[in-house]
Symmetry: C2
Subunit: 217 residues, 2 copies
């Protein structure tokens, strides 16, 4: 008997989600879904070790969020299987911690078992070697898979009924439709609404040919 009873809150949630997905479209803020390919962030000190004393990052391409850029500077990452990935791009500006963000496909190829972490959380993460034109550095830790997340401003947070640190789901309609669950909401002033997936996620759902996105609780 109890196995056939659907609990009321589940039905309510299903209906609420379906309603909000249907009603939200007309009023929703513009949702952008971008893929972050593998990249790294470096401290000013690590940048000097890799590129020489006094070196500054040169913007190569501005990103969707104001003030952030893909830099001209590229490094090579070397992992424990004696394999490497060249042309790993540095994102600017410099940060107070150096960090490498890989998709699992990249990490497995390099022989690294990387945890899923938010930026700056390097618990139990492996390290690697980074090679630049002026030198090689060893990061003792900080190679992670950056967990899927959505940047948003305060009014976007109001629209979705979330606060910083909450979670939302993302459905992508394409020839390989998928729903990614539990995207971390990162709410900050002067931020545009933008989902960041990694290349495994973007390729799994054929994001490049998506016909519809939907962000919901």
């Amino acid at each position: 008997m109890s196995t056939t009873a659907l609990d009321r809150s589940l039905v309510q949630r299903l209906v609420r989600n379906a309603l909000s997905a249907r009603l939200g479209n007309g009023h929703a803020p513009k949702l952008v879904v971008n893929v972050s390919a593998r990249h790294c962030h470096v401290t000013p000190a690590d940048l000097e070790r890799l590129f020489g004393k006094g070196h500054q990052l040169t913007p190569y391409k501005w990103l969707y969020q104001d003030g952030f850029f893909a830099a001209e500077e590229l490094v090579t990452i070397i992992g424990p299987r004696h394999r490497m990935i060249p042309n790993l791009r540095i994102l600017g500006p410099c940060r107070d911690h150096s960090q490498v963000e890989l998709a699992f496909t990249d990490a497995i190829m390099l022989g690294l078992d990387v945890p899923v972490r938010r930026s700056g959380d390097h618990r139990d993460s492996p390290g690697c070697y980074l090679l630049g034109p002026a030198g090689m550095i060893e990061l003792p830790r900080g190679v992670i898979r950056h967990e899927r997340h959505v940047h948003m401003g305060p009014s976007d947070a109001d629209h979705y009924g979330v606060k910083n640190g909450d979670r939302l789901n993302l459905r992508i309609k394409s020839s390989c439709s998928a729903m990614f669950e539990d995207l971390l909401c990162r709410v900050a002033p002067a931020t545009k609404l933008e989902v960041h997936l990694d290349t495994d996620e973007g390729n799994a759902c054929d994001l490049a040919h998506a016909t519809h996105y939907e962000l919901f609780k």
Copy 2:
């Protein structure tokens, strides 16, 4: 007014899906979810061109489905960006068409724009070069992303209420939970229940550390 009305069939479907997912667990046949890494199939004639006259495939590792195996034989695939992937494994037994199955991450690296296709459907698919120890062959077409699918026997099909060619959804619970939609059901006698994802999909949802799978309409 019409925008606030949820249509009854949608509610019924949502409730039915939730119920069937909840009730199915106790009686469900054993569900196995495996990742197919990039690989190829070859005809006997192409096998001879790659490995020499009279060559036969040698089983290296038996697959979950009876009679199928990963072969000892490896080839190198060469794409239009003058990039190559070595150690592409042939799956046996030989088939009546040669075909390469790549994840999008692989295809993009090689410079190939591959369509999502079921096995043997090579419409609008690119070709490639395959290099073996006895020779190189050019496939004029047949490089595809194999669409996500689930193999099943007739009793599994009865359990899920599907027939050959129908679609099911797969939810995977992990540190990167996701739902993959529209898995093609491939029903055949003497077949074990097994989902095949590719490496992009398996890595996107961290299948290696999944705690729960669920297959539902």
